[in-house]
Amino acid sequence: MNRPPKKITLEEWDVRYAELSSQGLREPWYGGPLRRHVTEGDYRLRKLTFDNSPAALRLWNFLLTEETRLHRARKEGKKIIGAMKDLGTVPVMAYAAPDVIAFYPDGAWWIPCVMEMSTRDLAIADGLGIGETFCPVRAMLGAFVTGEHFPIPDLLTCSVGATCDDLSAIAQRLNGLGHAILWWEIPHRRRPAARERAVRLPGDFTAPAEQVAFVRTELERVRNAVEALADAALTDTQLRDGIRQANRVRRCLCELRRLVFTAARCPIPALELQIAEMLAIHFCSDREESLAVLTDVRDEAERRVRAGTGIAAPDAVRIFWVNPVADLYAMNLLEDVGGRICGSEYLFSHALDEIPEDVVPMEALARMALADPMVGPAGDRAGRICRDARAFGSEAVVISRIPGASHCALEGQVIAGVIRSELGLPVVEIEVPPVADAVRATLRTRLEALVETVKTRRKR
């Protein structure tokens, strides 16, 4: 069943799928050929290249069936929480409760890409006054209005305060359309003052104890709402178990990232790795299955590393990537021009770090929420990127700006400045729209220039 690692097109996957099926491929209920997703409207798949392993097939099928699985969960009587913005905290609480699942409505920001602008979501957002000066997360408004994607959640939460203005404004617009939202506050994380009690957070950040206590109280409000929704108490024991389960996912992902970033030959493509990382933020609506999917991908990576095989050339340039891309194609492009991913920070590193298990669960969740790279100074975020880039041996950094995102432009400058001064690495900033076909040549040129710069530096 195993073939040498290779990136293949959708057409090649048709052949590969037939071959795997004839060899007795066993799939979960949501499995099937990738081609069927195109029939359902995910047209972008026609332009992408994919890893050729059964593990990657399972990963893609898991990702692309999320809406189906959410509708199925609703039919099974499960309660659904739409957790907006916090990217990793509320879902840990939600999955700890009986028969409750959570997903990120903000994940709709990939709909315009995956469905190649074939839906009405952005047009609806335009009509609601949320135009192109906002980030692609505005597609979420269209998804709520049409109800054609995810089921309307039973409970909507949104973290606000030191979060991005785009999402806060769009969520308020959603609220104005009649969707009730439980707003909870995440304050700007500041450095503890002298003589102020400090708490160490995941990701090596610190915060004053009083800020942690504040967030803990805010999360208690969310906990009360989850309990009301579940019609059952959400005990510390359940939360502790929820944290343990989340940490199993995070440890698996951590191991996968380590394998990919440090291997002599890159074992898993950038695109599949980015999708794998995304599973951590809300388990793609199924916590147990997400662990199984990730375990498969990690095992595949391990096999390839042991065999000394991979999907990129041995001399591929080791790139650290900052921010998620609105068009998934950009991750393919990086490898097409001779790069490979060796480090990433997609704005949710707090969803990858292990949640502390040695403190009471609500304290642990509060610490995790405050470790969100977005809620602190851009300088803190840059510091973490530098640490990781150094640890993974990155040779250059790509900062991918999110179109319309009000925080990105300045943050990008700060991060680029810190990287240049601390690491002396070349940095390139790019902006990737939801469908990047029109700027493909420009993107390619910029990434090629970065790769060539690194190769020249190697010769010195």
Partner: protein
């Protein structure tokens, strides 16, 4: 006495003054290019940072977390280290006791910052005295500014906006030149953001709490979540002042104000004129004048 600059209406000047400093609310001019150049920020933040950089005898600056841009502004100014900069967490949420406690705690933290600048923590008596002085002065100014005489003429308009640049103040003249009159100033520097009168019982029992409540619980602003009180305030004031049209101004890249435009249009039966301010104040002004003129022609 140290001059402490600030911009947000959620920073109580009484608190700064009670610590022995001079509060100065900034209305920056767009001016020319900021130096060193700042890119990737809204026109207001660029002007604000440039103002702080260029003012002589500035002792400190206080910014708040009401938007991404001002948060980043604190980073810019903090990195330059020319002027001590304080970032005050003003919660977006307001319905929980926890949010109110955070605001109060942030006032206390601001107090420590002001003491480090050479100020003195105020006694309750001193704080009450300063609060009442400021309240009295505000009341006198409001009487003049927001109670136009019966003789006032022109189509009554409301201005709904975030913070204004000095150049934006010309809007008042432009409106009058074309036959209108701004009878409701809902901009960030206007009557919308005035604190509530201090609770006389509370001020005796706990002046800090009275101060916090008058600011945090009373100022309606689009950045708050949910922001229903902003619309409740508008509903009352538009009716009270007999407003016939709304001028809505927002800056390019200001998501929180921009997102309210369509909602405001859905919400009100009054005509709403969108005045978007870009990076070029001169170009913006010419366009604004034309648009206001046409708007008023329609309403006349």
């Amino acid at each position: 006495m140290t001059t402490v600059l600030y911009s947000s209406p959620f920073v109580p000047p009484e608190w700064i003054a009670a610590h022995g400093h001079r509060p100065e609310r900034v209305v920056p001019g767009a001016g020319g290019e900021a130096s060193p150049v700042i890119t990737g920020v809204c026109p207001y933040l660029r002007a604000f940072v440039q103002h702080v950089r260029t003012q002589p005898r500035v002792g400190a600056v206080v910014l708040v977390t009401s938007c991404d841009q001002m948060r980043r502004g604190h980073e810019i100014l903090g990195a330059e280290s020319r002027v001590p900069a304080f970032l005050m967490n003003v919660p977006s949420t307001w319905q929980s006791a926890n949010a109110q406690r955070l605001y109060l705690a942030e006032l206390t933290r601001l107090g420590r910052f002001l003491v480090n600048l050479g100020g003195r923590p105020p006694s309750d008596k001193r704080l009450v005295q300063v609060m009442l002085e400021f309240e009295s002065r505000r009341a006198a100014l409001n009487e003049q500014a927001y109670r136009p005489g019966k003789a006032a003429r022109g189509v009554p308009l409301a201005l709904v906006a975030g913070p204004l640049l000095r150049e934006d103040l010309a809007l008042f003249e432009i409106v009058e030149r074309h036959g209108g009159r701004i009878v409701l100033d809902g901009s960030e520097g206007g009557e919308r953001t005035l604190p509530a009168p201090f609770d006389r019982r509370q001020i005796r029992a706990d002046p800090r709490l009275a101060l916090a409540e008058s600011y945090f619980n009373a100022i309606p602003d689009p950045f708050r979540r949910p922001n229903g009180p902003f619309y409740q305030w508008l509903k009352t004031m538009l009716a009270e002042r007999g407003v016939r049209g709304i001028l809505f101004q927002h800056y390019l890249w200001c998501d929180k104000w921009h997102a309210e435009l369509a909602r405001l249009r859905e919400w009100t039966p009054l005509p709403v004129l969108d005045l978007e301010c870009g990076d070029d104040p001169a170009g913006t002004r010419a366009r604004t004048e034309n648009r206001v003129q046409a708007f008023l022609e329609m309403l006349t």
